[in-house]
Symmetry: C2
Subunit: 388 residues, 2 copies
């Protein structure tokens, strides 16, 4: 990377630029800090998850810590779970284990793009979509999801597709809006992609970031885009359901509806080689069958959501009501969301400025704070400024 | 990746192509198998290493499994160890933690090359050098190390450098020859690179793969190339000293002699973002200060080496005497090393064909087999064919 490239990639990370100057770096974890910034744990991890990690760290034979590519007991569990969720006939060979959802997105980019190919994604985005597209020498094309519904507009999508479009990256349940796309919305996207693929003469891939698939707040099911569109790659992270993002494991799964999966399987292997052994740690793969169905308490998250929203609404912050994910978006009482966030941070309440996720004038709250932090936040927000 | 690119990258992996058809995939770990194929463990891991992993898997506070970039207690230990080894003033900020040595090489390629830049490496290589150079859109330029000394020829290196040369990748202690480059050899390389950098008007980086730095078999010290050449990036893996390659942790360290390290530090951060969160798992980073000085028993490895060599020599296999690493190279008794290896594999003795590491007519033995396997191998080799 020469100087220009470092600058260009750095510019595609407004979140990281903001965070590098945030007092959160110094204050996180200190007594009295109300930390609603990231989807990071603020309660102890699930004891049964800790127990399974500790058990699988104990060698059961001399090869326990051996080099490991895809571990069949892990890929088999993933395939079974995807089949149960989507009613599609996933096979273990469709599954490429990765170092979390981030690793899955990174290898997807390398698997399917050539330099100059276009990848469409939506604002508000996950922090690192842009750098992952650019890092693979592909060209980001950015569409917008508008509040309050944050629903992709099929016509705008159709208009954005060119002969160089290689993929569309979507995220449902959606960080940060909390929207779960319904069957009609997914079918509308699928129709656009089928027509466009036929027109340009090669399949456009749907990259489906489903990191929050299990984080649904009203006991509903989040449908997978793979149920609607054949050329789908599902990207998943176990970091959300376990609220343990530092233990890096996830996967990329090739839809069983893709007619000739073999080149994609080869590409998934090569992409993980090229990216620096993008396979999850041995212990995390061995333990996966034991923790694959563990999940943080969704009722607790829902209760936090339902306690925060009235307070935020009362202040005139126009909060979203997330169907899934860990996040509430709310309008900043002043147009400069970074200034508002800095003012709150000065009093040790940390939230994310919307401008770091292409939503200037908004801020994001994470429900992964502890109950004590939520209590304190409610008290603090009740006295926070109202919009001018 | 289109079809051509998959094919091209696949062709740069003769090892992987060979291994995908090897009976080892089915037979490894079965009773009676003599497994001298990889640097993989065949004895239980160090109990104190297991204990430290299990201890650090136990959360000590709610943020235990949080997202983690570089963990200062880990980078501080690395900097201290490098300073002790090299007498150079390494700082924690010079250290970028990675998912093993593989991850370190992968980010080095992204950090310093632009598409079309040339990277020189040496045959016999580590299996994945070529794909890591090509995967970063750089161009591999391959020089050869000749037996019995496997010493880089300074004149050949000087002749291979062009204005597009961005880096030279060397490996000492060297897999598979076992050579440890001495101060004179390292100084000769440094002189060539200093002159060439001055000539082409930009620094050529020395990428120093030191994964086996601690695996020295006669209690000697393996000097680091960083002691001789300023523009050095040290690439390290904890997978060798702990013989636990499935627990992915290592680092890239920027020499403190590089005048302006800031752009490289930024590039190391961005490269890990682009490659799919190339930071090691949280638990492995937390535990590092406790296991950083643990190492497999080198006396045991030396004893295995010293027992195998006379048998191999007696058969006329002309074995190397490794100064470091886990490996002995020996000449195949027939010109087609893959045929010889297949014949041995049919009797459940697994060694690596030299043709997979650009040494046709040779085979490689790993000393990480168990003592029982070494005993059985000695018996087997004593009756193996002699060269025609």
């Amino acid at each position: 990377m020469d100087h220009d490239r470092i600058t260009a990639l750095g510019r595609s990370l407004p979140f990281y630029t903001w965070y590098a100057r945030s007092p959160h770096l110094e204050r996180a974890g200190q007594p009295g800090v109300i930390d609603l910034l990231f989807g990071n744990p603020h309660d102890l991890p699930l004891p049964e998850y800790v127990e399974t990690l500790r058990r699988h760290a104990e060698p059961q034979d001399p090869s326990w810590y051996v080099y490991m590519l895809d571990h069949p007991p892990a890929t088999e569990v993933v395939a079974r779970d995807l089949a149960a969720h989507t009613s599609l006939p996933w096979r273990a060979e469709d599954v490429a284990m990765t170092t979390g959802g981030w690793g899955a997105i990174a290898i997807a980019m390398r698997m399917i793009t050539e330099p100059g190919d276009e990848v469409i994604y939506y604002d508000p985005p996950w922090f690192f979509y842009d750098i992952l597209v650019r890092g693979a020498e592909a060209v980001p094309v950015v569409l917008t999801l508008d509040p309050p519904r944050f629903s992709p507009d099929p016509q705008r999508l159709a208009d954005a597709i060119t002969p160089r479009t290689r993929a569309v990256l979507i995220n449902t349940p959606h960080n940060p809006s909390g929207r779960i796309l319904d069957a009609a919305e997914l079918e509308a996207i699928a129709e656009v992609l089928r027509a466009a693929s036929a027109r340009i003469g090669r399949p456009i891939y749907l990259l489906s970031d489903e990191a929050y698939r299990l984080i649904t707040l009203d006991r509903q099911r989040a449908p997978s885009p793979a149920e609607h569109y054949d050329h789908t790659l599902v990207l998943y992270s176990y970091g959300k359901q376990l609220l343990a993002p530092g233990n890096r494991i996830g996967y990329l799964a090739i839809s069983p509806r893709i007619p000739d999966p073999e080149p994609l399987r080869q590409a998934a292997m090569l992409a993980r080689f090229v990216n620096g052994f993008g396979f999850p740690n041995n212990i995390l793969q061995r333990a996966l069958p034991d923790y694959a169905h563990m999940c943080v308490d969704l009722d607790v998250l829902r209760l936090r959501r339902d306690r925060l929203i009235p307070v935020l609404a009362d202040r005139g912050y126009d909060p979203t009501t997330p169907e899934g994910t860990f996040y509430i978006m709310a309008r900043s009482p002043e147009p400069d969301d970074e200034a508002f966030v800095a003012r709150m941070a000065a009093e040790d309440l940390f939230v994310l400025p919307g401008s770091t996720v292409a939503m200037p004038g908004w801020f994001r709250i994470s429900l992964t704070a502890s109950d004590a932090m939520i209590d304190a936040a409610i008290e603090r927000f009740a006295k926070a400024p109202t919009p001018a």
